[in-house]
Amino acid sequence: MTPAARRHRLHYTVATAWLVATVSLASWWLAIGLSLPERMHRMFVWEGAAFIGLLVAGGVAIVRAIRREHLRRQALETFFMSFTHDLKTSLASVGLQAENLREDWPAATDRAPLDRLLHDLVRLQIQLENSLFVAQPDGRLLREPIATGPAIARLAEDWPELIVNIRGSATVVADARAFDAVVRNVLQNAVVHGGAQCVDVTVEPAASGDRVRLTLADDGRGIEPEIFAGLGQPFGRGSRTSGTGVGLFVCSQLTTRMDGVLRFLRGGSAGRGLTVVLELPGAR
């Protein structure tokens, strides 16, 4: 059962328990009232009936509101899933055709527009994936073994002009989709907002022993001191470029949900840029 479904069931249970408890209390109060002398008895009947009526109406309204909210949420999720499914299929189709064209293009020097198109497609894909993670903050994550070296090398292919040096390799236990999202956001951030040419990735065991530390240091422009502290915060903008800050926020959320830690350090490769340290549980 997903966390959302669990929460929904909890709301129902609490609302129903509240309704049963208050109605039985009111009934008990009314029953006592009926055993009292005539004058008192009439007062208790009217007051009790009004009390029970209000309680029942309130309870029913709460249960209906919860149900309506649940249905609305379900409809939204269905719409969102269907919309993103179609969007991802279209993105895949456009991307594959552009890659096909690029491969068949005779001169490498004339391929710049296609490269830009592929770049923008990667950006769109990352934004779409980020929006899905933001829309489903409690979506289920798996615990899968991921060989970090090959995974990062595969993800780095989204930016063919970026030099990614990977030193070391280890297997972490994380959700493959979330891991991809974190690494892609960090690389995207380095290229688009930092203007990095090179990212040095070091994979090593963390101090605690059962964790793996991935250090991604770029040689880009780095982050302005005044906004460095806000990195990873909801929609904290990490540069003066057009970023919304949602990428690093998603990274931070996902890492926490994977029992990991994400930290940002000033100064990256060759003393400039940004360093992102990602610690995740290692595979035994």
Partner: protein, 223 residues
């Protein structure tokens, strides 16, 4: 030439992938619906089925279950449904690959090649005088006696042959042949091996060797 069944309802994507796989010298049949794919599976034998999940007349997961029940064809999902639940369902069915959309052409081709290379076993395997026909799921002994294999036993045999000379762990056999949506015990693997040895007339375990505490190893060689 390897034969690939591609099931994709999106016109543009299906055409691009078909063209690409043909460029890679693979024979491709492109089906746009579950019904068309079911016909193709019933009429022919495929080296790989690449399936989209959301199809106009049903689910690729249901189609995969049908393919797993009736043939030895390995399955690769290629879908925009990438939630944990979807991926889990794909692997529970016993998919060999789960490729989320959008993906790079290079990655798609690499994964197709990987599955084909892993699962590539000649249709006819000769071992110690026996002839094993993996397409017809039959074994003919040196004396001309013919025995037929169950689909699942055929999958186990194919996995052992394709993994040789490595020993295949029982849990790997369970995952790859039964899938994770069924709950057989390792005993199910042992029973399949007993049936295979009977069909192969492998009384001295010279074709399928038991490795205590691990699993099984194919020692018949292949041709």
């Amino acid at each position: 030439m390897s034969r690939v069944l591609l099931v994709e309802d999106d016109e543009s994507l299906g055409r691009t992938l078909t063209e690409r796989l043909r460029k890679e010298r693979l024979e491709v049949h492109w089906a746009k619906t579950v019904a068309a794919a079911e016909r193709a599976v019933a009429e022919d034998v495929w080296d790989l089925a690449v399936l989209d999940v959301r199809l106009p007349d049903g689910s690729g997961f249901g189609l995969a279950r049908m393919i797993k029940r009736s043939s030895l064809t390995p399955i690769m999902f290629m879908t925009a449904l990438n939630s944990a639940e979807n991926r889990l369902e794909g692997f529970e069915i016993g998919a060999d690959e789960y490729l989320p959309k959008p993906f790079h052409l290079k990655e798609f081709v690499l994964r197709v090649r990987h599955v084909l290379a892993t699962e590539r076993v000649p249709e006819i395997v000769r071992a110690q005088g026996r002839e094993i026909d993996l397409r017809a799921l039959s074994v003919t002994t040196a004396h001309g006696e013919r025995a037929f294999l169950q689909v699942r036993d055929g999958r186990v045999l194919r996995l052992l042959i394709s993994s040789a000379p490595d020993v295949v762990d029982r849990s790997v056999i369970l995952d790859r042949v039964w899938g994770r949506d069924q709950f057989p015990t390792p005993r199910a693997v042992d029973n399949a091996i007993v049936r295979l040895r009977q069909a192969l007339r492998d009384e001295d375990n010279s074709l399928i060797r038991s490795v205590r505490g691990v699993g099984y190893q194919w020692r018949g060689g292949e041709s």
